[in-house]
Symmetry: C2
Subunit: 181 residues, 2 copies
């Protein structure tokens, strides 16, 4: 088993934190090896943000990703850049309020992460909604493992809010999955 | 210019946060390209933590690090594993209260980051002290750029404490540098 995950959006959406949490959930709290990378080019200064995670039950040689198995997209700019680079059978999750896409052959799950987070009180937790959706749709790591990694990564007084956002995202993810089956 | 930086220690020391901040300081707030990686193997479950950053004024092809130009070590386990893998002319910064080393030919700067952080009120900001020392000793990115990246990465109410820790680390770093010149 080897999965390459790319998360992308713009600065301030917590893309990097989300990547760190995915890496930790897979390694520290599940039984995988993981490599998690942020690459910053000139586009970072334009506000773009990208985080990549490789999860494997074997040792990981090369830490870079070419085409993703799982692509999570939270901004139009990120979609324009990475939307067409995922593998043929990839799982794609987008926030449809942030990304307008042309429908192609690929299966795309829509989770209104920013809206859901905003309804919960703060759109900065849209990343946690997306992590919930990611687990609900792909089962890439156990739900508990991701929750543990979130606990490690957010300030104590925000744990409740973040867990709530994660749970909402999970619910929406599972619903989207059922819709498309 | 291309610099490979490895930060290592144990979980809870904020090694990953420190790596993210270095990457951001170089890319978003300076004019470099940067790739920043966390690799988690089985040792992550033993509490080890490692973060690597490549900074370059050209595009970065391979995102992995073999031997570091700059090595920051905050635990004995990390030293035992990575202490001997840096480049011949590397800059090594350790917390001497956490790492007992055998003196070899290499130039090693000692910054009591954990002690300094503890004196400031909380040893969890030892990573910020280390970032200050890193900038003071190596000048790898401008001081302002690192400060901006720290601002982005810590909760608002802790900004003052973190900046203070960074400033103390910077001072100690500069002092260490002068001592060894």
């Amino acid at each position: 088993m080897k999965k390459e995950i790319r998360l992308c959006g713009f600065g301030g959406q917590g893309i990097i934190t989300a990547g760190v949490i995915v890496g930790k959930s897979a390694s520290v709290y599940s039984n995988y090896n993981a490599v998690q990378t942020q690459s910053y080019g000139p586009e970072a200064r334009g506000g773009a943000s990208k985080s990549e995670v490789i999860i494997s039950d074997e040792e990981i040689g090369y830490p870079g990703i070419e085409k993703a198995d799982i692509l999570v997209v939270m901004s139009q700019q990120a979609w324009d850049r990475y939307g067409k680079t995922s593998k043929p059978n990839s799982t794609i999750v987008i926030d449809p309020d942030m990304v307008k896409i042309e429908r192609g052959g690929k299966k795309i799950y829509e989770v209104r992460a920013t809206k859901i987070a905003s309804d919960l009180g703060n759109k900065i937790i849209a990343n946690m909604v997306m992590l919930g959706a990611l687990v609900g749709i792909t089962g890439i790591v156990p739900k508990d493992a991701m929750e543990q990694a979130i606990l490690d990564s957010v300030p104590k007084r925000f744990v409740g809010l973040n867990k709530h956002a994660f749970a909402e995202g999970f619910k929406h993810g599972v619903r989207e999955l059922e819709k498309q089956r």
